[in-house]
């Protein structure tokens, strides 16, 4: 199919008030919603919305390794599949794994591996699935943030949670959490994942053009934001266990009053 699309007219990414297309300031994150334990069959699951991104992450494991030769004698093998639903993007995407999805599956796995205490479960696999239901830029980062929650929900012991966000450059200015439209027209994209507990970087990629000074500004903004997202991850987890505790206490109360 060879339609000539007229090149989309560039939108003004930053208006005269310094606001972006969606009204955000340069250093403003899109609103993030996190939910844990929403899937029944998975051992752990999480759902994250970040702007228009809608991403589901689920964990099966530790479970027996299939095929057996994958298993390692001293630790669990972490496997990760990042996949985008065909309807997640403007032009329908074929469900077959693209090269981009394969690369992202690898880097996301490498972003979470340092956090998982895999030595606790030798000869098993921990399978992590990330499904992007709707995509609007920064999905690998939101995916990592959600995957950490899913791993925690599965009760897998971890060195810490991993939080991720991307910083970019639009209209010459460093901006936090680019949307898809901003990324397409922008001059640089820098996704970063951090394990805030040890303040270490588990994922960093970059494409575009940044001077070392611009990189420093962007990097510092990304690390700081990962710490902020981490706070929300912790709150979400605490809420979940608080509500489980309340549920259990309620049932106990009921049980007592019925018994009387």
């Amino acid at each position: 199919m060879n339609k000539v699309k007229s090149r989309e007219k560039p939108v003004e990414l930053i208006d005269k008030n310094g606001l972006r297309i969606d009204g955000r300031k340069l250093d403003e994150l899109r609103p993030i919603k996190m939910e844990i334990g929403l899937l029944d069959k998975a051992d752990g699951s999480a759902y994250i919305e970040q702007g228009k991104n809608k991403i589901l992450a689920a964990v099966y494991g530790p479970r027996e390794a299939h095929p057996k030769h994958i298993a390692l004698p001293h630790r669990a093998v972490l496997r990760c599949r990042y996949h985008m639903a065909p309807f997640s993007v403007t032009e329908r995407k074929s469900p077959a794994p693209s090269r981009r999805e394969q690369e992202l599956s690898k880097v996301i796995r490498e972003a979470l591996e340092p956090a998982v205490l895999s030595e606790y479960y030798p000869r098993t696999t921990i399978d992590l699935f990330i499904e992007v239901l709707q995509s609007d830029g920064g999905s690998r980062c939101a995916g990592i943030t959600g995957a950490s929650l899913a791993l925690a929900d599965a009760g897998i012991p971890m060195r810490g949670l991993v939080a991720a966000c991307a910083v970019g450059k639009i209209a010459g200015k460093i901006a936090l959490d680019l949307s898809d439209a901003e990324d397409k027209q922008g001059e640089a994209d820098l996704p970063v994942a951090v394990m805030p507990r040890s303040n270490t970087v588990t994922l960093i990629q970059m494409d575009g053009s940044l001077t070392p000074e611009e990189f420093e500004t962007a990097f510092e903004m990304a690390v700081r934001t990962c710490h902020a997202i981490h706070e929300q991850q912790k709150t979400t987890l605490k809420q979940r266990y608080l509500s489980i505790k309340e549920e259990v206490e309620e049932k106990n109360e009921q049980g007592k009053s019925e018994g009387q």
């Binding site: 199919m1 060879n2 339609k3 000539v4 699309k5 090149r7 989309e8 090269r99 981009r100 394969q102 690369e103 599956s105 690898k106 880097v107 796995r109 490498e110 591996e113 340092p114 820098l190 394990m195 040890s198 303040n199 270490t200 970087v201 588990t202 994922l203 960093i204 990629q205 970059m206 494409d207 575009g208 053009s209 940044l210 001077t211 070392p212 990189f215 420093e216 990097f219 690390v223």
Partner: protein, 263 residues
Amino acid sequence: MARIGQKTIEDMLALGKRMDNRGPHEFREMKLETGVVERACGSALINLGKTKVLVGVKVQQGEPFPDTPDEGVLTVNAELVPLASPSFEPGPPNENAIELARVVDRGIRESKAIDLKSLCIQLGKKTFVVFVDVYVLDHDGNLIDASSIASLAALLSAKINKYDVEDGEVVFKQELKPLPIQSQPIAITLAKIDKALVVDPSLDEEQVMSARLTVISDNHGRICAMQKGGSGTLAVEEVREGIKLALSKAPEIRSKVIEAAKA
């Protein structure tokens, strides 16, 4: 690798020494030869220590992407052929081959090394497609830098026929001209071993490293691509240190590539 080997490498590094007597910021001996495959428009064979990578560039007519009707197309593919390493198996590109191709691609694309607009033949209908095919022949570590360097050398030394466009058809002439290359991106990969950052890791070093960081920069010292690899972590300071190191090593590698491409 056996623990003993791992420990030896780490202990030596604590003393600032590497197994092949290199300093931590030293590249292995590099030999770069261009024009090795005459059928290709451009080609380069790199020997980086014992790592050998052959890159071939082919330029053919094709269709532009619908959203960039006035631009040529760049496509990079990498093959980790089974003869290059006991760990490579036959089959379609696996995640390592895909990552390798995509990182090399980003270096070329984001630095705007090729002037893609000048490759357009007929707006929205015909354009030249530049195929960069990375063929790893012998894996002794640091495939990313080796592939990226050889790709650049192949592109710089590539020759295509001059042509006229008549009635939307390309009419080739006898004379040759180089590809329109306007930037020379250079990839520098560092490996983190225990607390040290070493440049151009050998295969042994890659097996004990906890993480690696590749930084690709252009002639103006701007960063155009980065990729962290490995299941370990990098301290925030190590990222900064790595970038500084990579930017300082790039110019010397760049001059070697330009030299080799002229030959």
